[in-house]
């Protein structure tokens, strides 16, 4: 049945079916769980009430933040970019596309060319009207080789872009059936003239207009009166308060000073949910905590040693002790059931000290302790997780030495430099993007130095494959290669844990990114 839904979603995306038709068909299929939530929310929701100021207490903001969408990397810039800006398309909770500034997307015959029909009658906050040229300029700014944009990576496979009447056309270097998904990257919010004139002006087409910008302190917005979509933006204003301290965030939510908080510490989630007037939401996401080995560096260039270490992780224990149960076990591939075309029949790797000991012996490692670098910055609980790993590996006779690194400079000095360290990934909308970003042999962030010609070949083949069954099979083969041969140890996928006060209505589960994929100000309202 999920296959059927995905087939429909794919059909919708390829333009063979309208979104409304798709919703109707999907409901008729009686899809349960996440998908149904996303669908029902669109069909049978209560009438939204207008007004009020939504206050959000958000961790992950710094005094160094800028309103330039190209510079957005941490959580608070993600949220304010989503608040004042919009992308061509969004990804729904069920993995389907939501057409925003592009009202339709159609592929050329070979999936190399993609045509985005740009919506008419959309106004920027400075009074200008959105044109396809603004879209082109935005994409140019993010793909220019001199750009500092965090979206440069997703723009790299693009050969040419042009405007034709109401259409914005992208030519990809290779066939890419998932290309429309790349346009949902939040940094690619459309700006007037692409933000070439003043990138940090905070002008977009979103439901809310920036009224105060105090980086690291707060960001204030008011409803944009001429917003094009009546079904969104029910608040009079939105105020995002930067609260980086987890306890202070909880207190602000409990005392009602804010209505929504992100990043609830799993350790206190159960306690917080007992407080009156609020709910703790748990949304399965795509983010995952990992240990990465460089496949080209001794001793990790030995496939048997890699396998020994993979078998020496007690995944269940990590989910229970590091995530307090707010997560699911991983299978040494960066893909889980949240992704379209995920193969649920892949064998699950389990903790097996005896087999790990065998592989360790077979690898012929000389018995010197294997150095694992970790820091709290890698992911919350990374130091504890390394210790659990050390203990479960010791039971298999594999000595691991933990080297604790300072948080400061971890991403520049340790990650992607040292051969074995803790890290995290926040996931991508589709499998192709995840694999292309981190596991293709030529990827900039190939942090496991994984170099497998067969894997690379399958990735390119799957990218251009429009037959979904074949595509799923290709992804399944790739998953097995990475799972058994890769340098990735992926013990757990973490859930988003978030706090919402009871008077906030219209909450939806969307695990693409945190807090409803950044759309809570646009889609919620006060009771």
């Amino acid at each position: 049945m999920t296959d059927e839904l995905q087939r429909l979603a794919r059909l919708t995306r390829l333009g063979g079916m309208s979104r409304r038709d798709f919703l109707g068909r999907a409901s008729a299929l009686g899809i349960g769980a996440v998908a149904a939530n996303g669908l029902l929310a669109g069909v049978a929701r209560a009438q939204p009430v207008q007004g009020g100021v939504l206050k959000m207490g958000l961790g992950g903001g710094e005094s160094t933040n800028s309103l330039d969408p190209a510079a957005a990397l941490s959580q608070v810039p993600f949220h304010f970019t989503r608040c004042f800006g919009e992308t061509l398309v969004d990804v729904n909770a069920d993995g389907s596309l939501d057409y925003r500034l592009a009202e339709a997307v159609e592929p050329g015959a070979d999936a190399k060319t993609w045509v985005f029909r740009i919506r008419k009658g959309v106004e920027f906050h400075d009074g200008k009207t959105l044109t396809p040229d603004d879209v082109l300029a935005t994409m140019r700014r993010h793909s220019d080789e001199n750009t500092k944009s965090g979206a440069l990576g997703v723009m790299q496979g693009i050969a040419d872009m042009r405007v034709d009447g109401d259409n914005f056309i992208i030519e990809s270097t290779t066939a890419n059936a998932d290309l429309p998904y790349l346009m949902s990257t939040y940094q690619l919010a459309i700006q007037p003239n692409g933000g070439m004139d003043d990138p940090a002006a905070g002008i977009g087409t979103g439901a809310y207009r920036v009224t105060a910008n105090e980086p690291g302190v707060r960001h204030v917005f008011e409803k944009f009166a001429n917003y094009w979509d009546d079904s969104r933006g029910h608040f009079e204003g939105v105020e995002m308060v930067v609260i980086n301290d987890a306890t202070a965030r909880n207190a602000a939510l409990q005392s009602g000073q804010v209505h929504i908080i992100n990043k609830v510490d799993p350790k206190v989630a159960a306690l917080l949910s007992r407080a009156p007037g609020l709910q703790v939401k748990r949304v399965a996401g795509r983010g995952h905590n990992v240990f990465v080995m460089h496949c080209d560096t001794a001793p990790f260039d030995n496939a048997d040693l890699r396998m020994a270490l993979k078998l020496a992780v007690n995944r269940e224990e990590m989910v229970e002790k590091i995530l307090q149960g707010y997560g699911t076990v991983g299978n040494d591939i960066p893909i889980n059931a949240a992704y379209p075309l995920f193969d649920a029949d892949l064998p699950q790797r389990v903790y097996d000290p005896e087999q790990a000991a065998e592989f360790y012996k077979k690898s012929g490692h000389d018995g010197t302790p294997i150095v694992l670098r970790t820091a709290e910055a890698a992911f919350p609980g990374a130091v504890d997780a390394a210790q659990l790993f050390q203990q479960s590996a010791a039971a298999a006779g594999i000595p691991i030495e933990i080297k604790r690194e300072p948080d400061d400079g971890y991403w520049s000095e340790v990650w992607n430099k040292q051969p074995f360290c803790a890290s995290y990934w926040s996931g991508r909308p589709v499998q192709d993007q995840m694999y292309s970003t981190g596991y293709l042999s030529t990827a900039d962030w190939n942090d496991t130095r994984f170099n497998n010609a067969e894997f690379d070949r399958l990735l390119v083949e799957a990218r251009g494959e429009l037959d979904q069954d074949k595509r799923k099979q290709l992804y399944s083969q790739m998953a097995m290669i990475l799972r058994d041969d890769g340098g990735l140890i992926l013990p757990m996928f973490n859930d988003f844990v978030e706090g919402v006060r009871d008077d906030v209505q219209g909450w939806e589960e969307n695990g693409v990114l945190e807090l409803m994929n950044g759309l809570s100000p646009s889609k919620c309202w006060f009771a």
Binding site: T64, S66, S74, P215, G216, V241, N244, S255, Q257
Partner: protein, 319 residues
């Protein structure tokens, strides 16, 4: 005022300026040896090598260090602190707002803490080794021994969450009415008062007790003066130098050392501002903050020294 005092004062001010200059070199050197690459820190974990190279070019990180120091110093002397590398905002403007907030919080805490500490110190001397003295010492030492973030959380839980008397998020904004501001910062002020009280109180007590051993205090006692009058009129003025020193040290702490309290109460002060920019290696901002903090320290210590010089009767009335 006699020329001797003026000379000493002039020397003291000149020394402070020299010190500030040396500190500026240290700050510059310090920011140069921070590990990691500025471009990498700005763009973070998701930076591509291409984006990194582009940013490095743009920031002019390839000039030699002494050229960059002289450029920076020249700018500072002209009052130009430059623009932030990370978000392109004018540093003087961004710091101005944050510094104002920090001084407001420190000022409010000091207005309560300093008189209270001195008053409690006097009371302690008056009732020395009796229960009021022990109670005051016990409570204030307990307050200073508990980590300030814990006091913060406890006050936040009881007065912010349970009773709802004061907001747990001490957000102050431009154009906020004065009374609303005061209410917003009630909890952080309370924490800061508790944290700095003991130090000043104990020093007042010790300094006055020291003076109380003197023969002229005995004379005053024998003359039949009341105990509080003796302490306030005769002992305290002679104990003022060490007390002022400790008060100034605590004031400096209130300005430069309260980042933990700022974070816990989400107060937009200088501390978090500096930490954020250090994390991103936004060197011009870090240097500007460092220089301001150093100036505050040097200025307050200079004031303490000057007060001590003026308060010294041997200097005021030379033979």
């Amino acid at each position: 005022m006699n020329p001797l005092i003026l000379k000493i004062l002039a020397q003291r001010v000149a020394l402070s300026l020299l010190l500030l200059f040396l500190v500026s070199i240290l700050i510059f050197l310090g920011t140069q040896i921070l590990p990691g690459d500025v471009a990498q820190s700005i763009l973070g974990r998701s930076a591509t090598p291409q984006a990194l190279e582009n940013l490095r070019q743009e920031l002019g990180l390839n000039q030699p260090a002494h050229t960059r120091y002289l450029n920076w110093l020249g700018g500072v002397l002209r009052g130009d602190l430059g623009t932030s590398l990370t978000n392109g905002r004018d540093i003087a403007q961004a710091i101005g707002q944050r510094l104002g907030n920090t001084l407001f919080l420190a000022g409010c805490a000091a207005i309560i803490a300093v008189p209270l500490a001195i008053f409690l110190g006097l009371i302690s001397v008056l009732y020395r080794n009796r229960w009021p003295d022990k109670l005051i010492s016990g409570l204030s030492l307990a307050a200073i021994s508990v980590p300030e973030f814990l006091i913060g959380y406890v006050l936040m839980f009881y007065f912010g969450v349970m009773l709802g008397w004061a907001p747990s998020v001490s957000m102050v904004t431009e154009g906020m009415p004065f009374l609303a501001r005061l209410q917003a910062i009630a909890l952080p002020v309370a924490v800061l008062v508790l944290v700095v009280l003991a130090h000043m109180m104990r020093m007042t007590r010790a300094a006055i007790l020291n003076v109380m051993q003197s023969a002229y205090i005995e004379t005053a006692e024998l003359k039949g003066l009341g105990m509080f009058r003796i302490i306030w009129r005769h002992a305290f003025p002679n104990a003022i130098a060490p007390v002022v020193n400790v008060v100034m040290l605590n004031l400096a702490y209130l300005v430069v050392g309260v980042v933990v309290v700022e974070v816990v109460f989400v107060y937009p002060g200088m501390g978090q501002f500096l930490v954020d920019h250090v994390a991103k290696r936004d060197v011009p901002v870090v240097q500007a903050c460092g220089l301001i903090f150093a100036s505050v320290y040097i200025l307050l210590n200079m004031v303490a020294d000057i007060v001590a010089i003026i308060a010294n009767p041997r200097l005021r009335h030379p033979k």
